[in-house]
Symmetry: C2
């Protein structure tokens, strides 16, 4: 057996084990008996130990050194790039630092939840300070003299640079602040009223999942507290949630997760259980969930179809016609919480976190000053004051589990979605006529063909660039948002 075949065989087995570990997470959030948590923690830790040992297995280093890359085709070289990158990353971080971080963050998640419940940032600050200290150490090990934050960002968005993101975000932020303020200055559109049967919400959810091309023969839809998509290849499952008063929460959570899931389902089957066989980055993943959810799912055309579906399922819910429904689906509201934010305000939440976490990692902001920095920035962008820590700097789990460099990929995903939407609309001129019939096939087919099927073959930036015919830019997203909400709000 060649070194390449041996390396790929070993890697394939590792990826199969990673799927098993991931499915334990799905199980935990959907079907696990409540009392099983302690045993489950040991099971998860045992799986992580197995996976970690394989990721730093010295045989991988030997195989990597022995492979004749010149003899490989493009796909083989792309596989090598992923394996080399992941192995080098894990070699750089000292084992005791990795262990310390794993221990600390596993404990910190509970401490964060307690502090959030008590609205007490001071109780969590010492833990967070220790996490920041260790993440800075990890970043130093990874950066080898380069930018610390870039080294962390690279885990979620390979080869992205914070300075490039900053340039995009600097262009977005003032225009979104202005758009937000102008829209909220106008009369608020009417929302839905009444109670929406939860079983009927789930039934329409499945219909929406199918409408967006999700393959239920290779997946399933369940309920969970927080919607998510889980798995790669032939077993990609999504969850959603229902709220009797707010059917949009269910439907747009479903469409969002279907975007993630279809990306995984539509990757070339030849890449199954290899490094190429999963979404290439968090940003590109989010671009798929967001374009499904927003540019397609919240479009005037598609909401027209959805209005009919909802009338059939729920009767009268206080919205007179398709135009009023479109306004209701897309209405802006003041709020503290990122995950509940609309298309316009969402990125403001993300940029706030991006700037603060960059300052933390750079050493320019002390954790003890984080809450006041957060509140000051929030007031500047949103025009009102944070009332308590659970509505402010304690609202997200990310930092407590050591995720620094993750937040900006949400907005990068929106930027990518803007670029893809522009290219898609050029490629499919009658898209709206199809969406108005609940037909997404032309759109999802274009995304599958131009982006999804490639999996990890190219870098994130490359795959967006070749799909769009131009390098990523924030301009299409900005134009889309200003056009859409300008029209909706008469700005």
């Amino acid at each position: 057996m060649s070194a390449f075949d041996a390396l790929m065989g070993f890697t394939r087995e590792t990826m199969a084990l990673a799927q098993v570990a991931g499915r334990l997470g799905w199980d935990q959030e959907t079907v696990m008996p409540r009392g099983a948590a302690d045993q489950r923690a040991e099971e998860m830790a045992a799986m992580e130990a197995v996976l970690h040992a394989r990721r730093v297995d010295p045989r991988v280093g030997e195989w990597l050194a022995a492979v004749d890359e010149a003899a490989l085709d493009d796909v083989g070289r792309a596989q090598m790039r992923h394996i080399r990158r992941s192995y080098a990353r894990n070699q750089k971080v000292p084992a005791d630092l990795a262990t310390a971080l794993a221990r600390l963050t596993s404990r910190a998640q509970g401490q964060w939840a307690e502090a959030r419940a008590a609205d007490d940032f001071a109780a969590f600050a010492p833990v967070l300070a220790e996490i920041v200290r260790l993440k800075r150490e990890e970043a130093s090990a990874l950066a080898a003299g380069g930018d610390l934050y870039d080294a962390l960002l690279d885990d979620y968005e390979p080869e992205a640079k914070a300075a490039d993101l900053q340039a995009m975000f600097d262009a977005l932020r003032p225009r979104l602040v202005a758009l937000r303020a102008a829209a909220l200055d106008k009369p608020a559109p009417k929302g839905v009223t009444g109670t929406f049967d939860e079983a009927a919400q789930m039934a329409l959810s499945r219909k929406l999942a199918l409408a967006f091309g999700y393959d239920l023969n290779l997946g399933r839809v369940d309920k969970a507290v927080h919607p998510f998509s889980s798995g790669s290849g032939l077993d990609v499952r999504i969850t959603t949630r229902t709220n009797p008063a707010d059917p949009f929460n269910c439907f747009y959570s479903t469409i969002h997760e279907v975007g993630h899931a279809c990306y995984e389902q539509n990757i070339d089957r030849a890449y199954l259980l290899t490094p190429l066989g999963q979404g290439v980055s968090m940003g590109v993943h989010e671009s798929q969930s967001r374009i499904y959810e927003n540019q397609l799912g919240r479009s005037r055309a598609f909401t027209g179809w959805l209005y009919g579906q909802m009338r059939d399922a729920f009767g009268d819910f206080g919205i007179a016609d398709e135009d009023a429904f479109y306004a209701a689906v897309n209405r802006l509201q003041n709020g503290f919480i990122r995950t509940e934010a609309d298309e316009v305000q969402y990125n403001l939440h993300v940029m706030l976190r991006f700037d603060l976490e960059r300052a933390l990692i750079a050493g320019d902001l002390a954790v003890s000053d984080l809450e006041s920095a957060w509140n000051e920035r929030f007031a500047a962008d949103f025009g009102f004051a944070v009332d308590r820590a659970s509505n402010g700097c304690l609202q997200d789990v990310h930092w407590s589990v050591g995720l620094f460099g993750y937040f900006p990929t949400y907005s990068l995903g929106n930027v990518y979605a803007g670029c893809l939407n522009e290219a898609l609309r050029k490629a499919v001129p009658d898209l709206d006529a199809q969406l108005a019939q609940g037909q997404t096939g032309a759109a999802t087919g274009w995304l599958r063909e131009n982006l999804q099927r490639h999996g990890g073959l190219m870098t994130p930036r490359e795959v967006i660039t070749q799909a769009c015919g131009a390098a990523p830019s924030e301009a299409p997203l900005l134009a889309y948002l200003e056009d859409k909400f300008g029209a909706l709000y008469g700005i």
Copy 2:
């Protein structure tokens, strides 16, 4: 860290991984998307490879050699006995033989299913002959000069001997053949009629599970094609099935699996994720499922309570009173299939298989003669002829996956259940009065206290002996069956 602590830490991690692998099986039978089968096979194989590597890891041998057993308490010595036993077993079987068996049996299961569907034993015979050949090789490696069949039996019922089982079965068989013939000579009791709503069956199933002490906070009940119990410790799940025409299938499958599951749930929590933390053998496991299902669940007293429950759930189903219901629950019918057999006939099915598989492993019966040997024996015990292979020697999956030595543990479980029932009835004189109220607490509490909590602390024979105050014997089972069915059928 002492060698013992290191060994236990490693073993605990292995057991956690085994729980994960087991739960993949649960997932596959209950919630897995249909199209995921190919990927799942790779995931299972990867988990098996990890588990196998740990089971033969040379560090285990070093730790085993280094532990000072004299310094351990009883529990520690019992842990050592299990670990030593399992390690020695895996050391004895050459790696290439283990691999060959795994490959062959993984393929053979599909070939068996095809042959069964075609009622064509000749199509499967060559595959089975190869399995028998490799199992004989495996048995030779394990037996080290001892009895081949005993070496295989030991995998499922540690320290049991085929000769001892044979003596019990020889005492049982003629009396059961006679009891069966006498009962079937009498007019058949009336069965239930009508259609039984499947959701209502599942609701009553959950009620029955709770009535028998199953902890739903540490488990769950789902539907599957074949009912099973899965997992140990804090996450023990059962499945059942529904048939609109036959509610007893659902209810008694549930009670049977609850017996297995409660055994696992009731083991001393101090043994969690250790070799002591699971049922000690197949026979003892089956004794729990069978005593829950039969001696308790099919008793006159408990069926009286169940009759009321079923009347409440389903109204009139053609059975006039509790006595008629008791007769309907326990009625004997001619049939070919082991898994559908009643208490009297079940063991005859098992003994047939035991005698045939002993002869196969001894080399006294050629696979080419198996079908005729089966049919001849069936006619002798059951009084009518097998009509086709799927009703005869192709009905069970066991041999196709290499399970030789497993069948007799079913009847051994019934023998143990007979012994335990005798002791239980002495210990709890008013048991029937409690069962008549749907109260199983005294019975299941006695079983938990005297047997279940010990897990793997003693050998199978030891745990039955100390619970019953006497060595296992077929006499109590025989007396129970002859009394019960003698009275029911007026024999």
